[in-house]
Amino acid sequence: MAVVKLNGLSKRYAATAAPAVDNADLTIEDGEFMVFLGPSGCGKSTTLRMIAGLESITGGELTIDGARMNEVPAKDRDIAMVFQSYALYPHMTVFENLAFGLRRRGFDKAEIEQRVTKAAATLGLSEYLDRKPHALSGGQRQRVALGRAIVRNPKVFLLDEPLSNLDAALRVSTRAELIRQHRQLGTTMIYVTHDQIEAMTMGTRICIMNGGRIVQVGKPLEVYENPADTFVARFLGSPGMNLVPSTVIRSGGGYAVKFGGTDLVIPMPDITDDDVILGIRPEDISEDASEGSVSFQGNVDTVEPLGADTLLLFRVAEHDAVLTARVDRSFQAFPGQSVTLHINSPGIRLFDSRTKAALMRTEPEDA
């Protein structure tokens, strides 16, 4: 049970180089499942390693339950970590691997026995306790790694891309397993991944990092719906948000942005510059008109049927980019064909063309 607080946490490897983690501010509440999400090299793993105590903190402060942790060695932080490669001790049996951290902390034999047995039972490892890691499957190894953290009953769990070495099917089931474990244990968990599906499904909140900085923190759907900048807009969602440069114009009593020869009415012009970046999620462009939608003409580039739905790659007049729409799987089109598509106005997002930051939120007016 713990609150982990990052106050301007920074990591610089050499005086001259750009910082690996730059002035990170974040409070992770008790019992929260916080996911650090970002592309490789964004500083998420370094941040996690600083929290773990495996990496020194070169700037700012880290506290757990209010106590400053900067100088506390890793073993004394009451933190458990699940490593990407599992880091099971290959020369020890499963039992010894699970018991090891407890032994090192001076627990008595009976207590160790009891905790290991219990953890092994929850994770379905009871019959493998005498095996060595090399005699286990990938999924079993992963569970031992998790078990090693669970038996310690730590204040905070750190998980560093723990699913990335599993095959696709196992990843889905282990994801569910982790969510279940988190619900049962109620411990604060910090989870690092570059996989947005893991982040969306598991996190109570996600923290998106890029270039060593925290870009946005929020509940998964909140972040998905209202990305703080164009990076998040593109990074979340598969495919990411369509982004096209555009201009804000005065239209009648209100405002609008230009898009493919149409004007999209927007409610609030909180801008200093008329040049903006217009963002629309592929699922906010459809082949059917709906209430309040605006239609435009697109020129089909490629049709990609995914099964559940179909991705339509198309071009619009006045823009260079290929845009994507997620349309119904029954939709038929051929390359070069001109089609009428509809934009769901509440889905429109605007970003500053210079700072790339989000400009306004078009809340659905009648919801």
């Binding site: 090299g41 270039g211 260079d320």
Partner: protein
């Protein structure tokens, strides 16, 4: 329309250099681990090397102070010591020819095994055995093989009616060096074979299958595909073998002690003789030879390294 501002950050997470402690380890820890090795290195390698350099410009009198003589030993060695030049010549001949022989035989054997010969594993182990046997045993064994009266080489020649070819192989200046070289190759061919075989086995099968579709027979595959592809390994082996030949001592010492008439004298045996056998009690002169030869080896290795620098990464 890309996010130029938020592209890739100039961040390097942990690279190949690992760390245990966050900010580099305390000096004490590093020293505890390294001191024994460094101590052994300083006392038994670095100091002797320096002392040999010192020796080489002195005459060491057994019961008096060392006498500084500058470059005298080097001058004497290069201008007034024909035996030294014979030793250099012999070593050079050895270093020039034997590596080709070693690696060539090793390569042919490896290709034979690679061509799916039956019992390949057995042959591999059998052919490697001479590598593990001490030079003393190998030397004596081959002295018997070369024996004039009952050695198997002369025996075989007599059996096929080539009586006139028989000779005391190690006793005649014309054949002694070649005889010792053959023995050395006998010992090391298996080593080269195993390395070539490992390199061949690491080649992608598809390339050889492609060669087969291009109508290559086994010879064609070996010559046009396998050998060019394992060229880095072959170069490596040649250099390793060359270094070995430049250092050669044991086998010569056991079999001929440099004789007959300096026919097999190598730089190493000559250094040994001058230092420990001639009772001159001067360790300065042989030290000068050792220093000279040290630089020859160094230059040879660096020259080869330079010659193959871009195409091949060298290891010793």
């Amino acid at each position: 329309m890309t996010d130029a501002s938020v592209g890739r950050g100039a961040i390097r997470p942990l690279g190949r250099v690992f760390r245990i402690s966050p900010d580099g380890p305390p000096l004490g820890t590093v020293m505890t681990f390294l001191t024994p090795a460094l101590l052994v290195y300083l006392v038994f390698t670095a100091y002797p090397v320096l002392r040999t350099f010192y020796n080489s410009v002195h005459i060491l009198h057994p019961r008096a102070a060392d006498e500084y003589v500058g470059m005298q030993h080097y001058v004497q060695m290069t201008t007034a010591d024909p035996t030294f030049w014979v030793a250099v010549k012999n070593t050079m001949i050895w270093a020039g020819f034997a590596p080709l022989l070693d690696v060539g035989i090793g390569l042919i054997l490896a290709i034979c095994l690679y061509a799916k010969a039956p019992f390949a594993r057995f042959f591999r182990i059998a052919w490697f055995t001479p590598v593990l046997i001490s030079y003393v045993v190998v030397g004596i064994l081959w002295m018997w093989i070369y024996n004039f009266d009952w050695g198997i080489l002369n025996g075989a020649l007599r059996a096929v009616g080539l009586e006139s070819w028989t000779r005391a192989w190690l006793g005649e200046p014309d054949t002694a060096l070649v005889a010792v070289m053959v023995t050395h190759t006998w010992k090391w061919a298996g080593f080269n074979m195993v390395v070539c075989l490992a390199a061949l086995s690491a080649l992608p099968k598809e390339v050889l299958e492609a060669a087969e579709l291009d109508n290559c027979n086994w010879f064609g595959k070996a010559w046009f595909v396998m050998i060019p592809m394992i060229r880095p390994t072959l170069v490596n082996l040649l250099i390793l073998s060359l270094i070995g030949k430049m250092k050669i001592f044991d086998l010569v010492w056991i079999m001929t002690q440099g004789g007959p008439l300096w026919a097999t004298e190598t730089v190493s045996t000559y250094v040994y003789k001058r230092a420990f056998q001639w009772q001159t009690f001067d360790l300065g002169y042989p030290s000068a030879i050792a220093v000279f030869w040290f630089f020859v080896v160094l230059v040879a290795v660096m020259a080869l390294k330079y010659a193959f620098r871009q195409r091949d990464r060298l290891e010793y």
